[in-house]
């Protein structure tokens, strides 16, 4: 606003994780668990025998679908968690002032990271053969009829320094290092932010800016490699040079949607009274802009592969577009993640009013989950995949677990970094 008047906001407000909010989240979690249980029972009892005698391939087991589901949600929600920390770091690296009151909302998503790391590693050890073709040791044995020269060529990326086909040291090490560093940076940011609350001054801001820069360098490399490791290596023969960016874009839009929804939720509960439609507008612009960025990467990947039509590249899209199960979701994916946010959030008013943003951000979370579903399931389950009770249930279970952890973490400290040097600037933010 034009008036740089006095502001009297309660900077010591703390989010109260009330029993009624907990109860609603628990209800969703229980519904999800019931659907998941039903899905598992249905998968165990039906469909098993008809696949058993399948020629050429191995018999399909119901638990493979469970593992694939775990993996989709591990990757998707890890992304939301790390994007919270990433967006927080961006604010400091860019010396942004507008976002000062919502910094802790962004950072709170990082609370999921330790759990996400444990889940990811445990799932990998339980499900390795069922998710990742490259974990089979016969692929690297030149005497075996199933020896695969191409995967053998890529083997060192997983197994170094061990012998190929034994224990994927390099792969596991990367996974552990990424999560350790991400959690380390998250805790560092939290610590500096707490110190700033107690001591005040601008030195913590400068400290935070340096640590943000270190984190961003690490994140640039780790997010890309994580995308190759956790998602692209499922289709082991295939590769795409912009896959890291593509996964990052999907993560970023999901994370931004989650941050926007949480800010709107907190405002609806009467917190963050200094956050007005100008701040919401900025969040809306991020969601709008990066939805288009995601589309740009999706299409860049698709167009080059489609146009060149080289078999070893186009197999990725052929597998998806010729499948009765997956081909409709390709269009659902584009519709939900591009056309919907593009058309609905185009006007200024839509980005400034919570109703449209809540609608679009909720749909985007589902839309980008579908994006990861399309990345993971065709390569792991083939024609045994699809979206059924198990998928819906697992998504609800993970989503509500993340909500419990994130809100629980948010409730522990003050909601606003009260000594942040740019709070005054953010009160006067006007666009």
């Amino acid at each position: 606003m034009a008036h740089h008047g006095e502001h009297h906001y309660n900077l010591d407000q703390r989010f109260e994780f009330s029993a009624s909010i907990k109860k609603s989240i628990m209800t969703v979690l229980v519904i999800g668990a019931v659907l998941l249980g039903l899905g598992i029972v249905l998968a165990m009892t039906g469909g098993h025998h008809e696949e058993a005698g399948e020629a050429g391939g191995h018999a399909f087991h119901w638990y493979e679908r469970l593992y694939a589901n775990l993996w989709i949600n591990n990757v998707f929600f890890t992304g939301i968690a790390i994007v919270g920390v990433f967006f927080f770091a961006i604010q400091f690296a860019a010396q942004a002032g507008w976002s000062a009151p919502i910094l802790r909302v962004m950072l709170s998503f990082g609370n999921w990271l330790p759990i996400a790391g444990v889940l990811m590693i445990v799932t990998f050890f339980i499900a390795n053969h069922d998710l990742f073709h490259w974990t089979h040791s016969y692929l690297f044995d030149t005497n075996d009829p199933q020896y695969d020269k191409i995967i053998d060529g890529k083997g060192a990326f997983f197994y170094w320094p061990m012998e190929k086909g034994t224990f994927p040291v390099f792969y596991i090490a990367r996974m552990v290092i990424f999560f350790l560093f991400w959690v380390f940076f998250f805790n560092k940011f939290k610590k500096i932010s707490d110190q700033e609350d107690q001591l005040g001054g601008t030195s913590h801001w400068f400290k935070m800016r340096s640590w943000s820069a270190y984190f961003l360098v690490f994140f640039a490399v780790s997010s890309s490699i994580a995308a190759w490791d956790w998602v692209m290596s499922i289709d082991t023969h295939w590769f795409s040079t912009l896959f890291g960016w593509y996964v990052f874009a999907s993560w970023f839009v999901s994370g931004l949607s989650a941050i926007t929804l949480l800010v709107l939720f907190l405002r609806g509960k009467g917190y963050l009274e200094m956050v007005n439609e100008n701040h919401v507008h900025d969040l809306g612009k991020f969601v709008f802009g990066f939805s288009i960025f995601w589309t740009y990467l999706w299409f860049s990947q698709f167009l080059l592969i489609y146009y060149a039509n080289i078999p070893e590249e186009s197999v990725y899209f052929v597998e998806r577009l010729t499948s009765d199960i997956y081909s409709p979701f390709i269009f659902v994916n584009l519709g939900l993640n591009f056309f919907l946010p593009f058309l609905v959030l185009m006007t200024r008013d839509a980005k400034r009013h919570g109703v449209f943003l809540k609608l679009v951000c909720s749909i985007l979370l589902v839309g980008h989950w579908i994006d990861f579903f399309l990345m993971v399931q065709p390569g792991t389950l083939g024609h045994n995949g699809g979206i059924g009770l198990m998928e819906v249930g697992m998504f609800l279970v993970y989503g509500s677990a993340v909500a419990l952890v994130v809100l629980g973490g948010l409730a522990k400290k003050n909601l606003i970094a009260k000594n942040h040097p740019m709070l005054e600037e953010s009160y006067n933010h006007h666009i």
Partner: protein, 176 residues
């Protein structure tokens, strides 16, 4: 169109004073013709009560025009005018058209927006701009008040209001 020729100018030193002055002057029932400033003053259009620009609507329409033109052009060329087999694709292979369609959308949206802006702001090359106070291109903010539009108030009264709102100078300005 006949333009009004007699104005009162309030000259301000400070943008914060200016912003409050605009509110005070308008609060006293004086209609402001325009405020000239050497640089964009944040929130000025808000206190002046300007309606939002409709330029984005023009941009959207020109963008849509670009989209339709590009698609029509490519479809006509590739399907009817000069069909060619490229990479074994259909003659009218939709994904191939997207990059050109995107570029045409951006091009026409941008050009259309600039064109509409120039027309609506009277920025034609032969336009003769009226300079109220040359110092508004340097270090002063100048508030112009059209006497003909404020016939309900006496000129002396308007000058008093401007002075009281923090103007460092109050001048008369007439154009021929």
């Amino acid at each position: 169109m006949e333009r009004d020729t007699h104005f009162i100018l309030g000259v301000y030193d400070d943008e914060d004073v200016l912003l409050h002055a605009v509110e005070k002057v308008r609060g006293n029932g004086v209609k402001i013709h325009e405020v000239y400033s050497p640089y964009p003053v944040h929130g000025l259009e808000h206190v002046l009560g300007y309606k939002r620009s409709r330029l984005p609507i023009a941009a959207f329409l020109f963008g849509m025009l670009g989209t339709s033109l590009a698609l029509t052009m490519q479809f006509y060329m590739m399907r009817f005018d000069w069909p060619m087999i490229i990479g074994g694709k259909d003659f009218a292979a939709f994904p191939d058209f997207i990059p050109v369609t995107f570029e045409m959308t951006v091009l026409l949206a941008a050009f259309g927006m600039v064109g509409v802006f120039m027309v609506s702001s009277n920025l034609k090359p032969w336009a003769q701009p009226r300079i109220f106070d040359i110092r508004s291109t340097d270090d002063k903010h100048v508030m112009a008040i059209d006497i003909a539009h404020n016939s309900a108030l006496e000129i002396e009264k308007i000058k008093e209001i401007l002075k009281a709102s923090g103007a460092t100078e109050v001048n008369n300005k007439s154009f021929e």
